[in-house]
């Protein structure tokens, strides 16, 4: 599993997205909902306790005075007298009944029933002449004891409280009966009429006596009683309400407060249904997000990978798309720059190799017929000697030396050899120019063994002769050498006509162009640069009153050290 997740970018992204999107959801649903429910239920329970206390107080406010009034009336001589038939006492009777009614807050009707169960005197809602069975219900219960008794009412009477009135022999001569009807009970419990709470008053067997809503008594009380019977929790008939129960000790009745739950079963089911929907939606979003993200991230990396492979196989022209501005975009840019630079370098090195080859080719071509020429020159030398024309003999000898130097196998030769070559060349040119210039070679002995490319000084001297001192009668050319750190600088100076600024610029610019008449200089520069790199080459200077100096800069390499290398070439 872990391995599988780590194997690809896509699955990693998917699981990350899944985790970050589902975890808060799960936390919300699994922790928050129960906490919310618990909170709301605690709040309801708190409220209910307060409301329960209120109605408990209300009920006690009726039952406690009633419990005192019942024995008081039952043992009152006037009451006993009235029930045993002494009509004269009624004048004193009613004030007593009204006093009892006042004490009990006028919540109960009061009646005096005779031994046959017929009401003889009554106030506050009970009719005189009404009949109760003495062997049933409240009167029977009152007849069994000398204490106040409570019994279920009938029709609109919620409950009765009664006590027997007994004569001296202890037999019941009548009953004092308090009756609380529904209207009175409504008043009694009206303290909660503004709230969402409903009240049930149940008898000891959990049968309904009173309910603040008519439907409660029939259905809810039956459901609660059934739940109590089955030993279940009190959830009522629909599960939409919470119930709180308190027993009233005087009467043994139960007060039940019904409060609507904030989180009903339907709501919780709906909540969980929505949660599952949300989860499913999250999952879909995860797939979508992972797909998008992975495409966004893995595509450029895959492309980079492919491009890298192509580069490895030698396809340097491969380029990545640069359509992004993020890190991956920069990576692509860097890759492109790298391959561009690499291919450019390659191109340059190929070009250089090609040029080197061309130069070699030219040099080899130049060597094509040297032997024939050399032999010819030898013949010419002997002809000059035998015909007594020493100039021709000398020229032929010089030219032959130059030719021999040209055809030696070594490209790098000691400076001394090159200087000899220059000397021979100058000799030839002196014949041509009828000694109108002199050439002085002033190279210290120390540098004579330094290695230089073959035929690099001759073109310089040739240039100084042809473009410098050619038109003069007292031309002077000086060839000198000096060392600047590890660089050997060989300078050819003349006192000729100098160089135009244009030519100077051309010669001193790093990118020299072939210029008519200075091809020799250009070739020398190229050869040096090809051998030793761009740090070396030729530079030219020209004085304002004529004369020019062309310097060749070369690395200082001695013959001994580079003998082997030189002979390889």
């Amino acid at each position: 599993m872990k391995h599988w997740i780590r194997r690809s970018f896509k699955t990693r992204i998917f699981y990350t997205v899944l985790l970050v999107s589902l975890l808060p959801l799960v936390i919300c649903d699994v922790i928050m909902l129960p906490i919310l429910i618990a909170h709301s239920e605690t709040k309801i329970a708190q409220e209910s306790r307060q409301q329960m206390a209120l109605i408990q107080d209300a009920l006690s406010g009726l039952l406690e005075p009633l419990n005192e009034a019942l024995p008081a009336l039952a043992q009152d001589e006037v009451v006993r007298g009235a029930l045993t038939g002494d009509e004269a006492e009624t004048g004193a009777l009613y004030p007593r009944l009204f006093q009892a009614a006042t004490d009990t807050g006028f919540y109960a009707g009061i009646g005096l029933f005779d031994a046959a169960g017929v009401c003889r005197y009554a106030i506050n809602g009970i009719d005189v002449g009404a009949k109760l069975y003495v062997n049933w219900g409240v009167l029977r219960a009152a007849g069994q004891t000398d204490e106040p008794v409570y019994a279920d009412g009938a029709d609109d009477i919620v409950f009765y409280a009664a006590q027997a009135v007994r004569d001296a022999q202890g037999s019941a001569v009548g009953y004092v009966v308090f009756a609380v009807n529904e209207t009175k009970a409504d008043q009694l419990f009206s303290i909660l009429s503004d709230t969402s709470a409903d009240i049930l008053l149940l008898n000891a067997s959990w049968e309904p006596l009173y309910s603040s809503q008519p439907a409660l008594g029939d259905t809810v009380a039956a459901a609660l009683r059934q739940q109590l019977w089955d030993g279940k929790k009190l959830t009522g008939s629909g599960g939409e309400f919470a119930y709180f129960v308190q027993r009233e000790t005087t009467s043994g009745y139960f007060l039940v407060v019904q409060k609507p739950k904030t989180f009903t079963a339907t709501l919780i089911h709906a909540f969980y249904f929505i949660s599952i929907l949300k989860g499913a939606l999250c999952l879909l979003l995860c797939f979508w997000g992972a797909w998008l993200l992975s495409r966004h991230l893995s595509r450029p990396i895959r492309e980079l990978n492919t491009a890298m492979g192509a580069v490895e196989r030698g396809h340097y022209a491969v380029r990545l798309k640069e359509d992004r501005e993020d890190e991956l975009g920069k990576l692509a840019e860097g890759f492109n720059r790298m391959t561009r630079e690499y291919s450019l370098n390659l191109q340059r090195s190929v070009q250089r190799q090609k040029e080197l080859n061309d130069t070699r080719l030219r040099m080899m071509q130049a060597q094509l017929n040297p032997h024939f020429l050399y032999n010819t020159l030898d013949v010419m030398k002997w002809l000059g000697t035998t015909n007594n024309i020493p100039v021709i003999a000398a020229m032929a000898t010089d030219l032959a030396f130059i030719l021999r130097s040209s055809i030696t196998g070594n490209n790098l030769i000691p400076l001394q050899t090159e200087l000899d070559l220059v000397e021979h060349y100058v000799n030839i040119q002196n014949v041509r120019f009828e000694d109108r210039f002199t050439c002085e070679i002033d190279v210290p002995e120390a540098y004579q063994r330094c290695l230089v490319p073959k035929l690099v000084l001759q073109p310089l001297v040739e240039n100084a002769i042809l473009h410098g001192v050619a038109g003069q009668d007292d031309g002077y050319i000086k060839l000198s050498a000096l060392q600047e750190q590890e660089t050997l600088v060989i300078t050819v100076a003349d006192n000729g006509c100098g160089m135009s600024a244009e030519v100077l610029d051309m010669l001193n610019s790093p990118d020299k162009r072939i210029h008519g008449g200075h091809l020799g200089l250009y070739n020398v520069d190229r050869i040096i640069k090809l051998y030793f790199g761009n740090n070396y080459g030729i530079t030219a200077q020209s004085g304002p009153e004529g004369g020019s100096r062309v310097s060749v800069r070369l690395p200082m390499t001695r013959e001994e050290a580079n003998d082997a290398q030189g002979s390889d070439r």
Partner: protein, 333 residues
Amino acid sequence: MKLRATALLLCFVLAAAPNYTFAESVDDYAPADNGRLVIYTSHKVEIYQPIIREFEQRTGIWVQVVSGGTNDMLKQIALESDYPQADLMFGGGVESLNAYSDYFAELPADICGGLDTHAAVGKKWLPFSLLPIVLIYNRKLVTQPPESWADLLDSRWSGSIAYAKPDVSGSSYTALITLLLAVPGEDENILRAFYQNLEGKLLDSSGDVVGAVSDGDCAIGITLEETALKGIAAGKEIGIVYPADGTSNVPDGIAIVKGCAHWDNALTFIRFVLGEDVQRRLITTYYRHSVLSSLAGEDTQAQEMRLLDYDIQWASDQKSSILTQWNALAAGE
């Protein structure tokens, strides 16, 4: 590793989520098993409820009531015979209780001391109240009401007798047997004469009889005294005739389910409903007659009523054959 840690965290979160269910603990309020009683009843709620509530108030025993039709309740008891849920069957004609006597327990002999001699006493059931069959008539339509069962065969009442199907209504069947007992002659002939006099007019329910007579649909009817008296109390203009040749006084009964869980409470309940307080209320409140001989003096109507010697066992045994004859008459029409 990381994955395992995440899973662990998730488990912890799930376990930590509060399992908060909320309802007050009220177990103490319900009585222990010995303070309970389960009653199956076919009585109407206005009869059983006051009686049971008075019983609960007097004894503190909690009663659970399951109510329904007599046959449904008895079938239910038969169905549950292996694991009886009910303790008592309260109500239902004693013929029906007799038919299901296999499912009822034998009652102690001393429990039925004060019962009226008229009330049949079975070993497995006891009568609770007496329900005579009476004739009723529309007081505006009928100036000379029928006086006896024999009058029902008079062509004067052809097609104007409100009578429910005896194969559907228990009281109708009782009435049919009473007719056979009261009118001398061959049962088959009496049945045919009575059927012909009905002219095929048979009501679907015994509850429709009072309405049919008071509406003038029928001039006279045959029903239970209780039903007739309730109709009069509700303002129906009908008169009652106690047949001069006597009537049946078939009781509804009460029986304890065999193997019940609350035997003592069931006996307490039987003693209570067969006690004077409840029996007196039958007379004063429920338009019924008491099964107690001690209360005979308080029941003037019962004193005047002439009763036939109605053999419940015989009626029960003959039920299928008589109904077969009856249905043959209906089919032969």
